[in-house]
């Protein structure tokens, strides 16, 4: 990625340049492209987590940035731009799901595909472990997996993940926490060690 010409400026400052009609169009456009540089990948990742389809996620991502371009003037600065953008992305995805609700159900992807990059070029060492983690993640229910991936892999704050999932921050925190524990159980070498804190099954056959 090229150097950010607005390096050192906050997202909100860069957006302010985009909407500043006193500035030349070229400067304003450069400001917008800088925001795209900053958020394109993450907005796509969020849409992908929600929609589970690379092409649908790409469409939704484009729509999100179109809405940013058209609606930037309504951003008042009460929220961080990131949060604002993620909320728009979530709404676009929700609309997308609603609009396509009549389509046949989306086929469930391979475990590896669910959590990793759609066009992942990686062939480095550790692939086996990654596959094991991806498979373990796939044992989680979709909402827990989504919350965990957004926070632990995509790097969203709990507050941002709360916006994406439309849940209270505390709920996201506890969901992520529980998902980590379930993942720990699934990844345990013996496959059965209980890191979830749940009461283990008592051995009912051993009573004497």
């Amino acid at each position: 990625m090229a150097t950010d010409p607005f390096e050192g400026q906050s997202d909100e400052e860069v957006l302010a340049r985009f909407v500043d009609t006193q500035l030349p169009a070229g400067s304003r456009e450069a400001a917008f492209h800088s925001l795209v540089d900053r958020y394109h990948r993450r907005v796509f990742a969020i849409c992908f987590q929600v929609l589970r389809s690379s092409s649908d996620a790409e469409d939704a991502t484009q729509e999100t940035f179109v809405k940013l371009a058209r609606g930037a003037g309504s951003f008042r600065g009460e929220a961080q731009l990131s949060t604002w953008l993620y909320r728009v992305a979530r709404n676009v995805c929700t609309d997308h799901v609603r609009h396509h609700a009549r389509r046949p159900a989306t086929p469930v992807a391979d475990p590896g595909e669910l959590t990793s990059a759609p066009a992942e070029p990686d062939t480095t060492a550790g692939t086996d472990e990654r596959l094991a983690v991806a498979a373990a993640l796939d044992t989680l229910d979709p909402l827990s997996r989504q919350a965990l991936v957004l926070v632990a892999i995509e790097g969203l704050t709990y507050a941002e993940a709360a916006v994406v999932t439309d849940l209270p921050v505390g709920t996201v925190k506890s969901r992520v926490s529980r998902a980590r524990a379930r993942l720990a159980t699934a990844l345990a070498p013996d496959g059965g060690s209980d890191a979830s804190g749940a009461t283990p099954d008592h051995d009912r056959t051993s009573h004497h």
């Binding site: 484009q62 940035f65 371009a69 058209r70 930037a72 709404n91 969203l156 507050a159």
Partner: protein, 130 residues
């Protein structure tokens, strides 16, 4: 806070000092609890192995192509007094309030982004030695 949240908060360095000390005292005397903590730490480390989602090949070019017309339109808009944002036919209703363009509302407030909240296994808060 239940046990799972205590352990994950501990790993994230998110426990208050007194809570941390209390948990460390428990850990010192409870090998099963230590095992659960270590399993969580291992799971966090495994998660770190997974790459973040990458953009599909050519996605940026396709986005730029989609945006070029939109940006030309937005940038060519009259810089007159605050005007309502136009809603283009076919656009789905947006959560963005179509209100006024008020660039002067953007003060030069510098906000450090709170990112990332990425789980950092193996880096408990300073002083946490277990």
């Amino acid at each position: 806070m239940d046990e799972i949240e205590r352990l994950t908060s501990y790993l994230d360095g998110g426990l208050a000092a007194d809570e941390r000390r209390a948990l460390e005292a428990e850990l010192a005397g409870d090998s099963a609890l230590r095992a659960r903590l270590e399993a969580l730490r291992a799971a966090d480390a495994a998660l770190e192995q997974l790459p973040a989602t990458e953009l599909p090949e050519g996605a940026r070019q396709r986005l730029d192509a989609r945006l070029s017309g939109v940006l030309a339109e937005v940038l060519a808009a009259e810089p007159a007094a605050p005007v309502p944002l136009r809603r283009v036919a076919g656009d789905a209703p947006t959560s963005l309030e179509a209100t006024e363009i008020v660039p002067d509302r953007f003060t030069a407030r510098r906000r450090r982004r709170a990112l990332p909240a990425r789980v950092r296994p193996g880096h408990p808060r300073r002083g946490a030695t277990l």
